[in-house]
């Protein structure tokens, strides 16, 4: 089966693209045709790499077609998409420093700490210094990546990938994490949560946004990673998209939190979970205040006075 990648895999083009990938669910040989591809977001990149990795893991044959004439071939190479998919092609350019511009696709492994630090320094150069003007951005990206990375490792049962991009002129930062695992609903069901037997994918995503939903039976994970990430998204006026199975949930910016839940078009499904965040760089400053507000908003902090003893 040949899958023609569309010209635009960003904004409104992302969900139809996920469905197009899903159309190969029963195929043994899959050809990805890159001839028309012109724009692709980090979410599109990590979704593609995660799917190709799953197909290859299942023993299917995956080949590229027309990647040599793809208008954005150097970009795909620089983002390490082709190498991650196993499509070796010589690079006809010199690799320059990526800091402050993008983070190539990276596999999520046990080194979540290192991944978070490296990717955050790439998005917010200098931000690892607590006094730096980009420290807030560094902290936000590090927090989201490590919590989402932990989720991939602990719950997905599959491989995860992350990527990021900074739009210098528009001032937007895009982060995406995708895995090819069991998805949120199956994760709940396999954990033995009775209520999950009667809900669908979109309800499962909404449930995962509630605080401490996955606490039971997992003492190391208090089930707040996705909850706090979504509240941080809201507080920074960000866009957030979560896709898992057939379900999608979008959180949009604005004075009031707008949460839209739905399903992928054409009965499509994304086997695994995809989380994409887009936020304005200038909306992120004091991360500790943001996190404190996100925790209070989630109902995670109950007491006005904390009894902990702190000293310098």
């Amino acid at each position: 089966m040949r899958i023609a990648l569309p010209a635009n895999i960003n904004a409104t083009g992302l969900l139809p693209f996920l469905c197009r990938l899903d159309s190969a669910r029963a195929e043994r040989v899959i050809e990805l045709d890159f001839a028309q591809l012109r724009r692709v977001s980090p979410a599109g990149l990590v979704a593609l790499v995660a799917r190709v990795a799953a197909w290859q893991r299942e023993g299917r044959t995956v080949a590229e077609r027309n990647v040599a004439v793809c208008p954005i071939l150097p970009y795909l190479q620089r983002m390490d998409v082709l190498s991650a998919c196993g499509f070796g092609l010589p690079e006809a350019f010199t690799r320059h420093e990526a800091k402050g511009r993008f983070v190539p696709v990276r596999a999520i492994d046990h080194r979540v700490n290192e991944m978070g630090d490296e990717m955050s320094r790439c998005v917010a150069p200098g931000g690892d210094d607590f006094e730096h003007p980009l420290a807030g951005l560094y902290d936000l990206v590090w927090y989201v990546l490590t919590e989402m990375g932990n989720n991939v490792r602990q719950h997905s049962g599959g491989q995860g990938f992350a990527a990021a991009q900074v739009g210098q002129s528009e001032g937007m930062v895009r982060i995406a994490i995708a895995d090819n695992g069991r998805g949120i609903l199956r994760s709940f069901r396999e954990a033995g949560l009775v209520w999950s037997q009667t809900i669908d994918d979109q309800a499962a995503i909404l449930k995962a946004l509630e605080p401490r939903v996955s606490s039971r039976g997992s003492p190391n994970n208090e089930g707040v990673g996705l909850t706090l990430t979504s509240n941080l998204a809201e507080l920074t006026q960000a866009w957030m998209l979560i896709v898992s199975g057939q379900g999608i949930v979008r959180i949009g910016p604005g004075k009031e939190r707008t949460v839209q839940a739905g399903v992928l078009p054409e009965n499509g499904a994304y086997p695994g979970t995809l989380v994409a965040l887009t936020f304005r760089r200038d909306h992120v400053h004091d991360f500790h205040l943001l996190l404190d507000a996100a925790k209070r908003k989630s109902g995670l902090l109950h007491r006005p006075e904390n009894r902990g003893r702190f000293r310098a």
């Binding site: 978070g116 932990n150 401490r212 707040v224 995670l300 904390n306 009894r307 902990g308 702190f310 000293r311």
Partner: protein, 101 residues
């Protein structure tokens, strides 16, 4: 007893499993032995909720809220402090039975 987190675990603390393991081996066994326990976060640049909850909430849950009178959180930057406060709050809520452990 004073435990220096940066020296033992590094400047970036993201893994809840590492935190739980550290708590079980390096904190819990000594809570009833030492009068004062200091967790020194000097040099820790950042942490996430998974790590801090696994490190701190379990101590409070296991030994009761009174343990906080014997524990000191030292050298916390503002982010670590927010996370530590939330982890303490979580431990207290677990004792109160508002959250299933």
């Amino acid at each position: 007893m004073e435990l220096q987190l940066a020296k033992e675990l590094g400047a970036h603390l993201a893994d809840g499993e590492v935190a739980a393991s550290f708590r079980l081996s390096r904190i819990q066994p000594y809570v009833s032995i030492y009068e004062e326990i200091t967790l020194d976060f000097t040099g820790v640049r950042n942490a996430n909720s998974s790590f801090m909850n696994a490190l701190i909430a379990g101590v409070v849950e296991q030994h009761g809220e009174a343990v906080l009178e014997r524990m000191t959180f030292k050298g916390c930057n503002p982010l670590i402090r927010v996370l530590a406060e939330a982890a303490i709050d979580l431990g207290v809520q677990k004792i109160d039975g508002r959250i299933d452990a």
